[in-house]
């Protein structure tokens, strides 16, 4: 795949911006991963934290750093690099805007982290009112969101400028995907920004006495579900448009890839009630409507699965593979850039099946807020997404730093993927099983007054600690590779793989970039799914709640 022509490179000034985001992301991985290890050890019942450190403080660190900071920073860094590579170098103004976004997000993270460490904000990363953290925690989170809007604005402006200069042309597939993800993020974060700025912040500052709990939760979950798709879509970008190039094949269909991203934009947002299925105060008919909308994302997911395996099979057959599954052996099993994201893809099969259970109207009550749910998103976010992010790092970091992934590091990266698979099988498997037996999520070790049922959960909690320890070894391996690629690997040029469309494929229809149309449909679906139940929630609201600090 490496050819002697000059490689298409991300401009070094843009590379610096991307790397800044990656440094923060990997620091978050190190600290958040350590917090995760501590949690699994405490919950095994065999370890007690020293110096009076509270389990829930550690849990807040884990959720905020890995759920919010690692993901958002990595995605911003990745998308800046993607757009710079496939649409062109950023203008100075756009790049400075990217830096402003970076510093806002970083300062916000530091403010929130300080409050968590001072034990002023043990509210977990979902910060459900009426638990009330220090106002600086909420201001910090607001800056992270506003910073991400500024960074996203820089990307959208760069894309818009390209569109103006190239009328009638389709944009590059990867830029298109990054822009869809950015729009989805901005639309989704309006909800969390609304509850924080209009409700929570005035209340935590003492300007108002009470807060409407259900309005706040509904706004949070309007954001919470598209947030997980915001994590997932960059992994899909890699699977659709980068992995084909890495294996030496072609993108199955540019148009279908764009269509599936548009479907994700439309059906990821108006679905938050499926996180609130067992909550009072919401009419069950509206819950069911949002359940139906939730399941619409199965369609683009099926399209994705088809495209990926079609790419793999056509590549294998082009190399002379025979029989029904002969192509499987032709895939580059020695290349970490392929193997690690491929493990991620496979994990998405059980992860998706579990997700269908979670959102199934009635079945949700069997697993709601049990540790099954934790097991679920450690397959989606912490395996499918994160392993793909690691796989991306193995070529993107050296591309940006002007270094190469050595054979030894490539081997270590594959070992890392295997370590992760083993660790996660233990941890997520045990979480799913214990959850079915009723073990709650987000809970420290407890014998629940000696109840027989709670005794059954303990062996699974020990298995989670075993898995968590193996996963922590996996994190150490990733950090070794990251530090190597950022500072120590041999100088050289690394390819930034960008997939090409199969020969003879038709051009993508321009209607895919009619943003008025897609953003209009998205807004219409959101208004349909939320207007009436939201008015009901406000009109039937009980007296509000004052704040509590129960930690």
């Amino acid at each position: 795949m490496m050819n002697s022509n000059k490689l298409e490179k991300v401009d070094s000034r843009d590379a610096k911006l991307s790397m800044a985001y990656f440094y923060v992301a990997f620091i978050a991985l190190a600290l958040g991963g350590l917090a995760g290890l501590l949690q699994t050890l405490v919950r095994s019942g065999k370890v007690v934290l020293p110096w009076g450190i509270d389990y829930y403080q550690v849990l807040t660190v884990h959720g905020v750093l890995l759920g919010l900071v690692l993901t958002t920073f990595f995605i911003m860094g990745f998308q800046f690099a993607l757009i710079s590579r496939t649409t062109g170098t950023f203008t100075n103004g756009a790049r400075i805007t990217g830096w402003v976004g970076f510093w806002l997000m970083t300062i916000g993270t530091a403010m929130a982290a300080t409050m968590v460490l001072l034990k002023e904000a043990s509210v977990l990363y979902t910060f459900y009112a009426p638990l009330m953290a220090h106002p600086i925690f909420y201001i910090g989170l607001t800056l992270v969101i506003v910073g991400s809007w500024v960074a996203g604005g820089s990307m959208i402006a760069t894309y818009a400028k390209w569109k103006r200069n190239n009328p009638g042309k389709a944009s590059s597939l990867l830029t298109f995907m990054a822009i869809i993800n950015t729009f989805m993020w901005i639309i989704a974060t309006l909800g969390v920004a609304a509850t924080v700025l209009i409700q929570i912040l005035p209340w935590s500052l003492g300007l108002v006495d009470t807060i409407d709990i259900l309005v706040s939760r509904t706004l949070f979950w309007y954001f919470g579900h598209p947030m997980v798709y915001f994590w997932l879509l960059p992994a899909y970008m890699c699977w659709y448009a980068i992995v084909p190039k890495i294996i030496g094949g072609k993108i199955f269909s540019d148009s279908l890839a764009r269509l599936s991203f548009i479907l994700f934009l439309l059906f990821s947002i108006p679905v938050g009630f499926h996180h609130q299925l067992v909550e009072p105060g919401i009419d069950p008919a509206w819950k069911y409507i949002q359940v139906v909308l939730t399941f619409m994302v199965i369609i683009p997911s099926l399209m994705t699965a088809f495209s990926l395996f079609a790419t793999f099979e056509s590549f294998g057959r082009s190399k002379g593979a025979k029989g029904l599954f002969g192509w499987f052996r032709k895939l580059p099993w020695g290349d970490a850039r392929f193997v690690v994201p491929f493990i991620g893809m496979l994990s998405f099969i059980p992860a998706g099946a579990g997700g269908i259970i979670n959102a199934s109207h009635q079945m949700n009550a069997v697993i709601h807020n049990t540790i099954w749910v934790t097991g679920h998103f450690h397959l989606t976010a912490a395996t499918a997404v994160v392993l793909t992010f690691f796989g991306i790092s193995y070529w993107l970091i050296p591309h940006l730093t002007g270094r190469v992934l050595t054979k030894a590091m490539n081997k270590l990266a594959i070992i890392q993927g295997i370590v992760w698979t083993i660790g996660m099988s233990f941890m997520s498997g045990a979480m799913h099983a214990a959850g079915l037996l009723g073990a709650p999520r987000r809970s420290s070790f407890s014998e629940y007054g000696g109840a027989a049922q709670a005794q059954e959960w303990i062996p699974y909690q020990i298995a989670q600690a075993v898995g968590g320890s193996i996963l922590f070894i996996g994190i150490i391996l990733v950090l070794i590779i990251f530090i190597n690629l950022a500072f120590f690997a041999p100088k050289g040029e690394t390819e930034f793989p960008v997939g090409e469309v199969a020969d003879g494929a038709e051009k993508p229809p321009l209607v895919f970039e009619n943003w008025k149309l897609w953003l209009g449909i998205s807004a219409a679906l959101i208004l349909f799914a939320y207007t009436i139940p939201f008015i009901d929630i406000i009109q039937n609201a009980p007296p509000g709640s004052k704040g509590y600090k129960f930690w």
Binding site: D54, Y55, L59, S122, L124, Y128, P130, L131, I213, L214, R217, S253, S255, L256, L259, Q276, V278, E279, P280, G281, I282, D283, P284, K287, Y288, V291, F295, I298, I299, L302, M303, F306, A310, S360, H361, Q362, A365, H368, N369, T370, G438, P440, R442, S443, S444, S446, Y448, A451, A452, Q453, A454, E506, A541, P542, P543, G544, S545, Y548, F550, W551
Partner: protein, 158 residues
């Protein structure tokens, strides 16, 4: 836009399954009445415990309703009132619960009873206890430092 023949088959099959699946869920919800707990009653969280039914937590026999008993819980950080209750085997019971302070969970392990308790709202579910045994109620929504110590017990006895 061209779609490969195999992909058409795959998507037709997939979307067909999806329609069947959502229809089953919908019929279960709207025809058989298997809706998730979605009680619309509200209450002032500051005065929980003063008014019925929350002035009498525990198992109360009722007459002339579709259920034989009402099992009333008041949750607050970090306990449920009552902490233990005996229910006769086979009784049809309406569980009614709310919280005095923050959001709590109400999950009866080993059953399908699992609902959120939110300040200002009443949560309800009707169930029949047709298997004897001890059922642990746990708080499954983080409520503070003693969250994992918050539990109650239901004993279903003959």
């Amino acid at each position: 836009m061209h779609i490969h023949k195999f992909e058409k088959i795959w998507l037709t099959f997939g979307i067909g399954c999806l329609i069947v699946f959502l229809s089953i869920v919908g019929v279960s919800a709207f025809y058989l009445g298997n809706q998730p707990p979605s009680c619309l009653t509200t209450i002032d969280p500051e005065t929980v415990g003063e008014k019925a039914p929350f002035d009498k937590p525990g198992l109360n026999k009722v007459e002339g309703k579709e259920w034989d008993y009402e099992l009333v819980y008041v949750a607050s950080a970090f306990s449920y009132n009552p902490t233990q209750v005996e229910v006769p085997l086979g009784a049809k019971v309406k569980v009614i619960a709310t919280t005095k302070d923050v959001v709590h969970g109400f999950e009866m392990a080993g059953t399908n009873i699992n609902m959120m308790l939110e300040p200002g709202y009443v949560s309800e579910v009707v169930t029949t206890f047709d298997k004897a045994g001890e059922y642990l109620i746990v708080c499954n929504e983080y409520c503070g430092t003693g969250h994992h110590l918050m539990h109650s017990m239901v004993k279903v006895v003959e």
